[in-house]
């Protein structure tokens, strides 16, 4: 990554888009502290991220990585309860407040009804929401998500972006990495277009989603049209990749 500069403020939803191999996941690893930067720095309220203890960092930044698997099955409640780790000492038992936070996080992500089911019994979209609930249980002001809609159907994708919108409205600073340019344009306050480790464009969806730069980045002919509505996102720039004519 080179020359990328961004800040995540409370109450904003920032979407990072770009082709495969653009460095989106690397960017997220830098922002989450799992990859120390070779140059430049990542700061949290003006403190360098690398100077924070693991627990302190988890109290400030919650991350939903792209995928995870486990050889040992857990229930949804156990899974969401893991978000309380940074709040508790090694011998401390989880108390009433921890349980309240976990219940609240499950309710917000609409997985409360599955609380005592095995995570593996849930559908892909429900499982993704359970992972977001776990991140919310951390009570961190910043939330990073790496391609949370990958593999989800239309309804789950829409529900997930609505959930991110609600979290933004509740004051969280949300950064989402996504391949879905159209949903990013409709839900995000600001966009960043990454290509080969550089920030090619940043700003509002209208500023970033320009035909010329998208065609150059994705190496594919496309058009950008206005979302026909109805809804408050009417007019949002929607990308339509063109089909090659049959020979």
């Amino acid at each position: 990554m080179r020359g990328v500069s961004l800040s995540i403020s409370p109450g904003t939803l920032l979407a990072v888009v770009g082709p495969n191999g653009a460095g989106k996941t690397t960017l997220m690893k830098l922002l989450s502290g799992s990859l120390p930067p070779q140059e430049g720095d990542v700061t949290l309220n003006d403190r360098p991220l690398s100077g924070l203890a693991d627990r302190e960092r988890a109290l400030a930044i919650a991350v939903v990585p792209q995928s995870e698997s486990s050889p040992f099955p857990v229930t949804v409640r156990e899974m969401v309860g893991m978000g309380r780790y940074a709040h508790l000492g090694p011998w401390e038992r989880s108390g009433a407040r921890d349980r309240t936070v976990v219940d609240h996080a499950m309710a917000r992500c609409a997985v409360a009804e599955f609380a005592d089911r095995q995570l593996s019994e849930l559908s892909g979209g429900e499982r993704q929401r359970a992972r977001i609930a776990r991140a919310l249980a951390q009570e961190a002001p910043v939330l990073l998500l790496d391609e949370p809609t990958a593999g989800l159907d239309l309804r789950y994708r829409m529900e997930l972006f609505h959930l991110l919108r609600q979290l933004r409205a509740a004051g969280l600073g949300v950064l989402v990495i996504t391949h879905d340019l159209n949903l990013a344009a409709r839900f995000a306050d600001r966009l960043m277009l990454l290509d080969r480790g550089r920030a090619l464009a940043r700003g509002t969806p209208d500023e970033v989603l320009a035909r010329a730069s998208l065609e150059a980045v994705y190496q594919w002919p496309l058009r950008v049209v206005a979302h026909p509505g109805p809804g408050s996102d009417t007019g949002a720039p929607q990308t339509v990749p063109l089909r090659r004519d049959d020979p």
Partner: protein, 331 residues
């Protein structure tokens, strides 16, 4: 989580029952009334001697070894994120066996009996250090657990070859006693060795139990555990050292008793799920009860001779585990 205290209390009752059975049965039976009188200090001297000099130290040794194997097996499964992991997977038992067999074959063990557990313990520690060092050099700064498994299995294979080499040079008598030691045997129990084992187990057990919630996180992967606030490298190193130390002490005291460390944590997982806050202490208690019962059977079946305890744990443990698996599959 709300079930935890009740379930642990249930297991503790099971341990007490197993302990009662274990000290009651033997070459001469001690009835419940006799047992109570002797424990409260008013029994006849013979029963008192049998109980306090033979049965109780042996039961205590079986209990501690079983608990240590259950707890360390569960820890290795969490550390390696592998349900097939068990206490001996990383070569600790191989190192212990090399130490013990060397003591037996060279004849030192006949002159100085306490050198047998010492040799086993030192061998186990050497294996633990060697496996760790190889894994650390092969994955600098992050102790990759896949490399740790590989290094443990390879070094274990080397130790096995060394054992065969030593055995090929042994005379018939020491060959026999070396094989018996490797099958796991608790017949050498006395209060001294049992007390020493307890002292060695306490720090390891406490360290592992303090990591229960970190193990829950680790089961979702190291990346997730890091994001949730776990100090992943420190957790892994602590788990490895603490569990290996417990295995080293248990093997030095009781030989290489198999299957307890694999079967017991799985039985608890199948019954009560994978929350390590319950799973770790429950694996300790269930291991304790299981080995107490297995050792009682080992002493009784061919009395007045006895079977190696490790044979009974396998013969009794495997069908039990298969039954559990089949029941779990239907659920």
């Amino acid at each position: 989580m709300t079930h935890t205290p009740r379930r642990l209390a249930l297991l503790a009752l099971g341990v007490v029952a197993a302990l009662g059975l274990s000290v009651s049965f033997g070459a001469s039976g001690i009835g419940p009334g006799d047992l109570w009188r002797t424990l409260s200090g008013s029994g006849d001297p013979t029963t008192q001697a049998i109980l306090f000099q033979l049965r109780l130290p042996r039961a205590a040794l079986a209990a501690l070894v079983g608990g240590a194997l259950g707890l360390s097996g569960c820890t290795f499964q969490a550390l390696l994120r592998n349900p097939l992991a068990e206490p001996y997977v990383l070569g600790v038992s191989g190192g212990a066996a090399v130490g013990a067999v060397a003591v037996v074959v060279t004849g030192i063990g006949v002159v100085l009996p306490w050198t047998l557990p010492l040799g086993a313990f030192l061998g186990a520690l050497a294996a633990m250090a060697l496996v760790l060092e190889v894994a650390r050099r092969a994955s600098p700064g992050r102790m990759d657990t896949r490399i740790l498994i590989l290094s443990g299995v390879i070094i274990g294979a080397f130790f096995n070859a060394a054992i065969l080499l030593l055995l090929s040079m042994a005379d018939v008598e020491s060959f026999r006693s070396a094989i018996f030691w490797m099958m796991g045997n608790l017949s050498g129990a006395d209060w001294g060795s049992t007390g020493l084992l307890a002292l060695l187990l306490v720090p390891g057990a406490l360290a592992v139990l303090s990591l229960a919630r970190a193990f829950n996180l680790l089961s979702r992967g190291e990346e997730v555990a890091f994001y949730l606030g776990a100090s992943v490298q420190r957790v892994k190193l602590t788990a490895y050292l603490a569990a290996s130390l417990m295995v080293a002490a248990a093997v030095a005291a009781g030989g290489v008793i198999g299957f307890v460390g694999l079967i017991v944590p799985h039985a608890v997982r199948l019954a009560w799920g994978n929350d390590h806050r319950l799973l770790l202490p429950a694996s300790f208690l269930a291991g304790t009860a299981f080995l107490l019962l297995a050792d009682t059977v080992a002493r009784l079946v061919v009395a007045p001779a006895e079977l190696p305890t490790g044979v009974v744990t396998a013969v009794a443990g495997v069908p039990f585990f298969v039954a559990l698996l089949l029941r779990g599959g239907r659920r």
